[in-house]
Symmetry: C2
Subunit: 371 residues, 2 copies
C-alpha cells in the first residue's frame, strides 16, 4: 500500500506536490543531505564496526536496550529481517511453525512472503482488515501458536491503537498460555504521547521488540531487535544467515543515533500536529480521517469521490496555495480513494493561516463535487 | 578464517601492528573517514534510492552490468545474501535442491549455513580443502545439480586460480550438461591482470556473477549480482524476502562507485606488489607463500613454527623496524601457523629499503628458531 502500485496519475499529483512551496507530511526530502548532516559532526577516525562488533555499534545497541527496557538489543539493516527472525526464533523454541498477526501485518503484505518462503512459518490472520486485534481474538488462538505479533499503531488502518488496558490484558493472557508476544514497534515512539507511557513501559508487555529508525525518527534505514540476551544472541546467527551481518553497518546506526537524538523529543509535537491537521481534513466535505482523532503522528484520509476527481482538485489546490498535502492517492473503489498522512518536521514550516486557507479552498472545491 | 576465532594473542600482535609506522596490507583503517571521503564531492540534493528504485541506483547497476558484460545487475547489501539467492533461483529453475561448490566456499564456512537453513539447499563439496576444483571434479557431478559455484580466486587457499583454459572447459561442460555456472567474484577485479582478460571476458563463462565492493575496491560494504534480466528480476523478489530491499542503500552503492573509480585502475599494481612481497616472504626461513607466486593481490603465508613463537618474533620485528606485516596469525597445528596478506594502497607507502630491512631482520630472527 502507498507504494507505486495502482497510482496511475502519480506523476502529475506528485510533481504538483513537489513544486509546492510547502509540503505538509514527513521530515523533508530523502536525499544524500540526510547522511551528510548526520555525519558532519562525527569524527572520521571513529573505527567502523566489523561484522556486528565494535565499540560504537555495541554502545548504540546498549543505549537502545536501555530505552526499550530490555536486557539486550541488536542492530539490523531492516525490520523485515529483524521480525522474520524474531518469529523464527519463537517458533523454534516451541517446535511449531505457527504465529499469529493482523491481516495487514507488514510481513503479510509487504515482504513477498519471506516468512513463509524462507522460514516455512504459517501465520494465522487475526481480526479483520478494518479493525484492530482485540483480547477476544487472541483468546480464540490455538495452543500451538508460538508467537503473536502486534503492530502499534496498526499502520495500514490509519495508525490505530487499542486502549493500554486491553494491551495489558492481551499480554497477560499470552503469558498465561505460553504464547510469546512480539511488538512491531516501527512507530513505537510516535504512540508514547497518546499512551502517556515510556517506551520501556510499553515494551514490558512484550517478549521481543522491533523498532525502526526511518519513520518518525527520520534516519536513513535500520532497525533494532530487543529482548533477552539468549534471544538476541540467536538473532545474530540468523542475521548472518539472512546476509544482514554486514562488515560495516555504521552508515545506518550512526545516523539512526543522530536522528534519534534530534527527534525523540518531538513526538508529542507531531502527535498534537496530527490532531490539528486531522481536524482540518474532517471539516472538508467528502473527507474523513481514520482514526477520527489520531493517536500518533499519522492517520489516513478517506474520500468518497473517485481518485481522479480528487487528484484534479488537489493539483488545483496545490497550485493556487503553494501547499502540497499528499504526493499520491490510492484507489479504494471506483467511487472512493484514500491516502496516508505522517507528521514530521515539515508540518511546522507551513504558516497556519496559509494552511487554513488551503483547507478552505479544498473544501470549497469539494462542495462543488456532485458525487 | 582470519576472524576473531582462535587468535589468542590477538591483542598483543594486533596492538604492535597498529602502533607500527607502516602497515603492509590493505587500503588503510576501516573508519568513518572512508564514508566521508566518498561523500565529500556528492551533492546533498541527490535523491535517495527508494526500495531499489531511483536514478542513481539504477545508473550504478547499469554501469556494473556493462562492466561485467551482463544484461542486468542488482545491488545487494551483502554477498551472503546475493549468492544464496542466486543458487536458490537456479535450484528453483531446475526443480532440485542441489548445488556444488568448494569445501571452503564462503557459503559453507562463513554464513552459519544460511543456504541450508533458509533455502533447504544441499551442497555437494567438490575437490579438497587444499586444492582447486578442476574439470575432472566437475565431470563427476550428478545430473540433478542445478548450479556449480566457482570462487575466483579461491580465497581460503591463498587466492589460487585455475588456468583460463580449464575455466573455459568447465564452463563448456556445464553448458552441455545444463548446469548453471555461478561466479563468486568477490575478488574478480583482482585477478584480471593475471588472466589478462576483461571482467566481461571472464564473466562470459558464467550464467550469474557476484562481485564485492569492500575487498580490492575498498568500499564500505555492498555487492552486485548480475545476469539475465529474468534472473535479476527474480533476485529482487528474494532480496525483499531476505530483508535486503532497504528503503535506502545509497550509503553503500555511492561509496562503492567512488572507490571503484579510485582503485579499478590499480589492480595491476596490487598484483605486481603481491608478487614482490611474496618473494620477500619466500626468502625467509620457516616461511613460504601459497600460492608460491601470487595470481592476484593476495596470498597466504605458512610458517612451520608454532603460532606463539612467530607472534613473539613479529612483535619484535614491528617494534624494531616500525613496519607491521600482519595483525593476526591463525594456528594450523601445534607446530605451524598461517596468515593472509592482501595488497592495497598501504603497500606503496612503505619505503622499499625499509621493507627489505624488515625482512632481513625477520629472516635473521627466524634462523634462530630451533624448530
Amino acid at each position: 500500500m502507498y507504494g507505486n502500485e495502482g497510482i496511475s496519475d502519480k506523476k502529475t499529483l506528485k510533481s504538483a506536490f513537489d513544486r509546492a512551496v510547502y509540503q505538509v507530511g514527513g521530515h523533508g526530502k530523502r536525499n544524500v543531505e540526510v547522511l551528510k548532516r548526520a555525519f558532519a559532526a562525527i569524527d572520521g577516525q571513529l573505527d567502523s564496526d566489523m561484522y556486528g562488533n565494535g565499540h560504537a555499534m555495541e554502545a548504540f545497541e546498549a543505549k537502545m536496550a536501555g530505552v526499550l527496557g530490555k536486557a539486550s538489543a541488536v542492530f539490523f539493516p531492516s525490520g523485515t529481517m529483524a521480525q522474520q527472525i524474531a518469529l523464527r526464533i519463537w517458533c523454534d523454541r516451541k517446535g511449531t511453525k505457527r504465529v499469529a498477526y493482523h491481516p495487514l501485518c507488514h510481513l503479510e503484505i509487504h515482504e513477498e512472503d519471506g516468512l513463509k518462503e524462507l522460514h516455512g512459518i504459517e501465520p494465522i490472520l487475526l481480526a479483520d482488515k478494518d479493525r484492530l486485534i482485540g483480547l477476544k481474538d487472541v483468546q480464540r488462538l490455538p495452543e500451538d501458536v508460538s508467537c503473536l505479533l502486534l503492530e502499534l499503531p496498526q499502520r495500514e488502518i490509519g495508525g490505530q491503537l487499542p486502549p493500554f488496558e486491553e494491551l495489558a490484558a492481551i499480554s497477560a493472557y499470552c503469558r498465561e498460555k505460553g504464547i510469546q508476544l512480539h511488538l512491531d514497534g516501527a512507530r513505537l515512539f510516535e504512540i508514547l504521547p497518546f499512551y502517556q507511557k515510556t517506551a520501556a513501559e510499553v515494551c514490558a508487555l512484550f517478549d521481543s521488540v522491533y523498532i525502526s529508525f526511518y519513520k518518525g525518527i527520520g534516519g536513513i534505514a535500520g532497525a533494532i531487535l530487543a529482548g533477552e540476551p539468549e534471544f538476541t544472541k540467536e538473532s545474530k546467527v540468523w542475521k548472518r544467515r539472512h546476509g544482514g551481518d554486514l562488515i560495516s553497518l555504521y552508515p545506518y546506526f550512526l545516523s539512526a543515533d543522530y536522528y534519534y537524538e534530534q527527534r525523540i523529543g518531538k513526538m508529542d509535537l507531531y502527535y498534537r500536529q496530527a490532531q490539528e491537521l486531522s481536524g482540518l481534513y474532517n471539516r472538508c466535505h467528502h473527507l474523513k480521517t481514520v482514526p477520527d482523532v489520531p493517536v500518533s503522528n499519522m492517520f489516513h484520509v478517506h474520500a468518497d469521490i473517485p481518485k481522479d476527481r480528487l487528484e484534479h482538485i488537489l493539483i488545483e489546490v496545490y497550485r493556487e496555495t503553494g501547499v502540497g498535502l499528499t504526493p499520491a492517492l490510492k484507489e479504494k473503489t471506483d467511487q472512493a480513494c484514500t491516502f496516508e498522512v505522517s507528521i514530521g518536521d515539515r508540518y511546522g514550516e507551513v504558516p497556519i493561516d496559509r494552511l487554513q486557507l488551503t483547507f478552505e479552498l479544498l473544501d470549497h472545491k469539494l462542495r462543488g463535487e456532485s458525487f
